[in-house]
């Protein structure tokens, strides 16, 4: 069964869009993650404006990883749950966020930045879930559906 579906995928010539994982360890990785997200969004048929929103959301989360947790990972994958969409997961095993409600407020920043990354990203995505535990790390799972 497995080998059959694999063969048909290959011989059919249709490229199956899959998941990609980008480790975030340094500044350049943010660009890689952003590009991966944009490329997948384009393959899924998102409009150019949406591709930019998706890429920007990825930048925000990847930069948070780099600044606050030092290392982590961005996963982008297609979503075929009846409707087409994209899922982005930003995960790190960093210090975690002590007060998520506060972190989700506009203007709250512990690094002297604008403090809009988390609340703003939530605004531009359709679904946004943040789970964080002090000493354990932070995981943001977000989705955008094709309109």
């Amino acid at each position: 069964m497995d080998s059959r579906s694999w063969t048909s995928t290959c011989s059919g010539g249709t490229h199956v869009v899959g998941e990609s994982r980008v480790p975030i360890k340094q500044g350049g990785d943010i660009i890689t993650a952003r590009q991966q997200g944009r490329a997948l969004a384009a393959q899924l048929g998102f409009s150019s404006a949406d591709q930019t929103l998706i890429a920007t959301a990825i930048s925000e989360m990847a930069r948070n990883i780099l600044v606050y947790a030092k290392v982590g990972e961005i996963i982008v994958r297609p979503e075929h749950n009846g409707k087409a969409g994209i899922t982005i997961i930003a995960h790190d095993a960093g210090p975690g966020i002590p007060d998520i409600n506060r972190a989700m407020q506009n203007g709250y920043s512990t690094s002297g930045s604008l403090g809009v990354g988390l609340p703003g990203t939530k605004r531009i995505m359709d679904e946004f879930l943040i789970v964080s535990e002090v000493g354990k790390g932070t995981t943001v799972t977000m989705k955008k559906w094709k309109t």
């Binding site: 500044g27 930019t52 920007t56 930069r63 604008l114 990354g117 703003g120 605004r123």
Partner: protein, 324 residues
């Protein structure tokens, strides 16, 4: 060994690569490398000591019979030294201690190979020969106990893969670091501040901006504003691949610092889509004077400075005294 600073360098490298005790323990767990393996390898030590010289001889005659590897050993003194180091390495495989100093030692091997630019496929190929040479002797030594022979071979394979993983990872890590350093060096020299006209500076930014670079750009810009007594600066970010809220924050701060020195900054090259995304995220770009293209930026700057910009033809008519 000749360089007393060497061990410290590897220790720092180990930290940089994030090879904590925990991480190493995870790797061993993944390889299912446990106490029995340690025991088996230790049990192999006497036998290994007996055939060490033979293995090393075979190994180097193999390396010397190939052009690719031969060239690393043209100096007999070097050959003698690496043979001695190789023997030590060989005996360490069965010494029964596979803790932090052991890992550090494997990294040192990776560093040494990367430094001489030994291609990774030669490293792996040579390791394969080495392993086969050892295998023959191990099977021979344990011929009365085939079960023990297989089990020990399994333990040896686990350790060898741990070693190869560490050594190749060191390779990659050092290469990546070199590339990073080169990129940084290029970036440092690639943020020129160009005087375009009197009182007008152009600051084209190419490549990603991160906090240290943002700081460097701001400092350089402020110095140039003073040196040229500039009134207007066009900061072109067409070549900046990512603009998110943190980068926008740096831009805003640079603009504000320049304003304190009496200069207006015009930011060009921010694509409308990126600007729109930033605004939706909640970045307040109102303090920043943005225009589409570099051309727009220069025109806006000239207007601010009071230059009359008009087409050559228009200038011709209005300044032609004979026309009146």
């Amino acid at each position: 060994m000749a360089d007393p600073r060497q061990p410290r360098t590897t220790l720092a490298l180990m930290r940089e690569m994030g090879l904590t005790e925990e991480v190493v323990a995870r790797r061993k767990a993944f390889l299912e490398f446990g106490a029995e393996d340690v025991e088996r390898l230790r049990g192999l030590h006497d036998l290994a000591a007996q055939y060490a010289d033979g293995v090393i001889e075979d190994f180097y005659s193999h390396l010397l019979s190939f052009e690719e590897t031969q060239k690393f050993f043209t100096d007999p003194a070097i050959l003698a030294r690496v043979k001695a180091a190789q023997k030590q390495y060989f005996l360490e495989l069965t010494q029964g201690q596979y803790d932090a100093p052991y890992v550090e030692d494997r990294l040192r091997i990776g560093v040494a190979h990367e430094r001489i630019n030994l291609p990774i496929e030669l490293y792996l190929g040579a390791y394969n020969f080495y392993l086969r040479t050892v295998m023959l002797r191990l099977v021979e030594g344990y011929k009365n106990n085939p079960e023990q022979s297989t089990a020990t071979l399994g333990s040896l394979l686990k350790l060898v893969f741990l070693d190869m993983g560490l050594a190749t990872e060191t390779y990659l890590f050092r290469r990546e670091r070199t590339i990073r350093e080169q990129q940084e060096a290029i970036r440092e020299i690639s943020t020129p501040v160009l005087p375009l006209r009197e009182r007008l500076l152009l600051l084209p930014i190419i490549g990603a901006i991160d906090p240290p670079r943002a700081q460097q750009i701001t400092t350089q810009l402020l110095q140039s504003i003073r040196a040229h007594r500039a009134k207007v600066v066009v900061m072109d970010i067409t070549g900046v691949p990512t603009v998110d809220s943190a980068i926008a924050n740096h831009l805003i701060q640079t603009v504000q610092a320049a304003r304190l020195m009496g200069a207006t900054v015009i930011v060009s090259g921010l694509s409308p889509e990126v600007a729109h995304a930033l605004v939706r995220i909640g970045v307040d770009l109102s303090a920043v004077n943005t225009v589409g293209t570099l051309q727009d930026g220069i025109e806006a700057a000239e207007q601010l400075l009071g230059y009359i910009v008009s087409k050559a033809g228009d200038t011709g008519t209005s300044h032609n005294p004979a026309g009146s």
